[in-house]
């Protein structure tokens, strides 16, 4: 902490020292900085030592202790300068992300049907440990899914063409190599398509309680009292197993590539190496798995709505992934450069005009979807021009935990929490009361402080605040 120098109220810097190749930059308010685990500094400094890193290692306002990289860490690497790709820098839940759906209905339309909708959603969307989807994929279907992502799901009848327009990469990550994915990873996924998972994953029905930026809100299709759906999940067992498989390989092969690891979790391989290329192919396949998964869940949500509120028409506002490594063009030393950018618990946040933004939203900027907790709020932000210069167009991803699961279960009882939330008009549906206790809203940082810091730091701007009405928790 003593090494931190304050550049502004929301920007902090650790000068390159020791083996650091670049400085580390942290974006946060003083209060968030004070609350940050010391491990965040240690980890972001470690990231700054990796070969080929560009400009700086960045920590977002929700940063907390992760594996190798802090969660909320952003780092870009140039393969021409020996740059690396890190399995830990992407994380175990590859392409975990948030998808938000507009519904066309208002809070008042939902009120009389809230319990019926909660039941229907819980019935339609498999959630929790050991849950399985309706699909059981054979080898060929798995490979097709891994190659084509949400586009594969669409072919099977899950969703509409317009959904793809509002999904990063149009629902299909190029460069996926299903043959780079182990049999173990594939076996874990066969029956898990269209499942929510557990832990911090959820499906929420939310209402828009505040608009901060009218023009962007209008472009995004958001107005006060609107009902929206947010889905938070990732690549399920497949992504977890790919993370496990490649972390091991990268740990064991680091000496072979001459990489000195300050922490085994930071295991990485040169981008231009057989292991680096194989990992990238497998990781991209996992991105497709996550995109297909959220696409199938979208379809299941539509089915639940059709049963209970048939007037609702669900369209995708946007789908963002916050655990990825992607090839993007960014400005380094005044020139555009192709870099491999890791965002671990960080959201891409392209400013207005970026070609990757869907045409209808391009003039406004990319929607940045921030998941909160089941008792507080979530936010929709928009990318800004400034964020390119500040963080390779990246922003925060959620509230960020401040208390371990272990501590949380000592503080809260699941049943009591569910009753308290019910008293505040929030319906929880979950197979596990202990799971609910572990995810207690109080175990997280103040999401409002996080998004305010993201806005003040120039990473993205607030558009709307959403509060939960129904939460399906795995």
């Amino acid at each position: 902490m003593t090494l931190l120098s304050r550049l502004s109220d929301f920007e902090w810097r650790i000068e390159a020292h020791g083996k650091m190749r670049v400085p580390a930059i942290l974006y946060a308010s003083e209060e968030l900085i004070r609350d940050m685990d010391n491990k965040v500094y240690e980890q972001i400094v470690n990231v700054a030592t990796l070969p080929g890193i560009q400009k700086a290692a960045y920590a977002m306002p929700d940063a907390h202790w992760g594996y190798g990289f802090p969660i909320g860490g952003v780092a870009a690497f140039d393969p021409q300068e020996g740059g690396v790709v890190s399995a830990g820098g992407v994380g175990f839940d590859i392409s975990c992300g948030v998808r938000t759906l507009l519904t066309g209905i208002k809070a008042a339309d939902l009120t009389p049907l809230k319990h019926s909708l909660a039941d229907a959603l819980y019935r339609h969307i498999p959630a929790g440990v050991g849950s399985t989807g309706r699909l059981n994929l054979d080898d060929q279907q798995l490979d097709e899914m891994l190659l084509n992502g949400a586009q594969w799901a669409l072919k099977l009848g899950y969703g509409r063409e317009a959904d793809l327009d509002r999904t990063e990469e149009r629902g299909c990550m190029a460069g996926a190599r299903p043959e780079a994915v182990s049999e173990f990873a594939k076996n874990r996924q066969r029956r898990e398509m269209g499942t929510l998972g557990s832990g911090n994953h959820y499906l929420e029905i939310q209402h828009v309680v505040q608009i901060y930026d009218e023009a962007s809100a209008r472009a995004f299709g958001l107005a006060p009292d609107d009902i929206v759906v947010s889905i938070h999940c990732g690549s399920r067992g497949l992504g977890h197993q790919i993370g496990t498989d490649f972390l091991r390989e990268m740990v064991l092969q680091a000496p072979h590539y001459g990489i000195e690891l300050p922490d085994r979790e930071l295991a990485c391989a040169p981008i231009e190496s057989p292991l680096g290329e194989t990992y990238l192919g497998a990781m991209r396949a996992a991105i497709n798995c996550a995109l297909a998964n959220r696409q199938i869940i979208t379809h299941l949500v539509r089915q639940a709505f059709a049963e209970v509120i048939p007037v609702a028409d669900l369209s995708v506002l946007y789908d963002v992934s916050h655990n990825t490594c992607k090839v993007e063009e960014h400005i380094v030393d005044g020139h555009p450069k192709r870099v491999f950018i890791h965002r671990k618990g960080a959201t891409r946040a392209f400013g207005p005009g970026h070609p990757a933004i869907p045409e209808a939203l391009r003039a406004i900027g990319q929607p940045v979807l921030i998941g909160g907790t089941m008792g507080t709020a979530s936010y929709i932000l928009v990318g800004m021009d400034e964020s390119e210069r500040r963080s390779f167009s990246s922003s925060c991803h959620g509230a960020g935990r401040q208390m371990s699961r272990h501590q949380a279960t000592k503080h809260w009882r699941g049943r009591q929490l569910i009753d308290e939330l019910a008293g505040r008009g929030i319906i929880i549906r979950s197979p596990s009361t202990r799971g609910v206790a572990e995810e207690a809203p109080g175990a997280y940082k103040d999401v409002t402080a996080v998004v305010e810091a993201a806005e003040e730091a120039g990473l993205s701007r607030r558009v709307a605040r959403l509060e939960p009405l129904i939460c399906v928790k795995g």
Binding site: D37, K39, H64, W65, G66, Y67, I71, F92, D93, G128, V129, G130, T132, F184, N187, R188, G197, S198, G199, N200, G237, H240, Q241, G243, T244, L247, R248, V251, L252, R264, E265, A267, R401, S404, R405, H406, Q407, P431, S432, T433, R434, G435, E438
Partner: protein, 141 residues
């Protein structure tokens, strides 16, 4: 040597640490596996109805521990089971494990969370000052 054989969880950031203690490395490996089951549910609620055999090999005991736990995570995921009782025998860097458990029963087990994988964070296999063998690491949930 008076060694307390058992398992425990410890706090770690967003996730959870698992630790097993025993009179031998093999026993510490058995106990840490119970701790893994304890992340999901109360191991005492799991009946030993089915046996699963596991073999792993790694260049050192620490990587072997991660491999052992990850093999269990994998078996539990694909079999939709919870494994909660274990026998481990070690020969050099080779592990032969037997694990017992049953299919996940949501109503009875109330599984809290599925484990994504065992990690290299806080990874330790060795003897503590009392001579007990300890095997521990953080698991991502």
């Amino acid at each position: 040597m008076d060694v307390k054989v058992g398992w425990e969880h410890y706090a770690h950031g967003a996730d959870i640490g698992v630790r097993g203690t025993g009179r031998s490395m093999a026993e510490a490996f058995e106990q840490v596996a119970v701790a893994l089951a304890g992340v999901i549910t109360d191991p005492a609620r799991v009946e030993a109805r089915t046996e699963v055999m596991i073999e792993c090999e790694a260049p050192d005991p620490e990587v072997l521990l991660v491999d052992w736990l990850n093999a269990l995570v994998y078996e539990m995921a694909v079999r939709r089971m919870i494994l909660a009782r274990f026998r481990v025998s070690l020969e050099g860097n080779q592990l032969r494990g037997r694990a017992w458990g049953e299919e996940t029963d949501v109503a009875r087990h109330q599984p809290a969370v599925e484990v994504k994988g065992a990690t290299y964070t806080d990874l330790f296999v060795g003897q503590n000052s009392t001579g007990a063998w300890v095997a521990q690491c953080v698991v991502d949930v």
